[in-house]
Amino acid sequence: MEIGKLSLHTTKTVQNNQQAKKINTNKFSTNPFGVSFKGNVIQADVFESSNKSTNVIAQKSKMFASAVVSGINNFNEAFKSRINAIVSFGKKVTKDAFDTMERIGNTEIKIDMEGIKNKMFPDRQYSVKQLSNKSVDELKGMWEDLTPEVEAA
């Protein structure tokens, strides 16, 4: 009786496991094994042959080779997409560089040398040559600004 119960239990467990496998198999329409290799669906020939026992090793090697080929194909695609990204980035950089050069070429650079000199040499703006460019009203304003200190002295 005990042996009979145990065998019944074992049979049920095996049946449950088989059902679970079936459920897992249904997840993949193209890959009934439900086996993945580094995220890639294995593209092996999954139809079982009649001489199952003798062809197990060959089938496994087939699966492995298929996985490798699939991996290589995916690698090529990834490589191409990265290369394309790099090429487009290079093109963009080149275009930006050309645009910048064009902008620099069209930009008029003005350096106020007089202003720089006046800042470096403050007395320079009081040379007759510099002052003669000013109107009398401007000169009057400058004179009036300087007068209080002269009067105090």
Partner: protein, 123 residues
């Protein structure tokens, strides 16, 4: 480093050569001849005389306390020297003659007479 007095002197020198002569003379008369500083008044008087126009000479010849009538001997002497250095003294002589004849202030008339005499002897 230039101090403020030197800067004002540069402005005065610029006004002496300025294209807008009339405005320059007005500014020199307004600020320069009324400056409390002897050096500024001296340079202003010399600049006005160098211009050698009726308006510029009138200020330093007939105005009391300015130019040849300045209370500072230094300013008065510098003005007289500048007058004597003029190549064309006609306008200055004419103004001095009118001042001697017609000016209301005796001190101004006397100064004008003395300077007129100096100019006669120096020419």
């Amino acid at each position: 480093m230039m101090n403020n007095k030197e800067k004002i002197k540069q402005i005065i020198r610029t006004l002496g050569e300025h294209k807008d002569s009339e405005s320059a003379i007005n500014l020199l008369t307004e600020l320069g001849t009324n400056s409390p500083d002897d050096e500024i008044r001296e340079l202003t008087a010399q600049t006005l005389i160098k211009k050698n126009t009726h308006d510029s000479l009138k200020v330093v010849l007939i105005s009391k306390g300015k130019g040849i009538n300045d209370l500072s001997a230094r300013v008065a002497m510098a003005s007289i020297n500048e007058l004597l250095a003029l190549k064309d003294k006609n306008e200055a002589v004419k103004i001095l003659d009118d001042t001697v004849k017609m000016h209301s202030d005796e001190e101004v008339r006397n100064t004008a007479r003395s300077v007129r005499a100096l100019m006669t002897f120096s020419s």
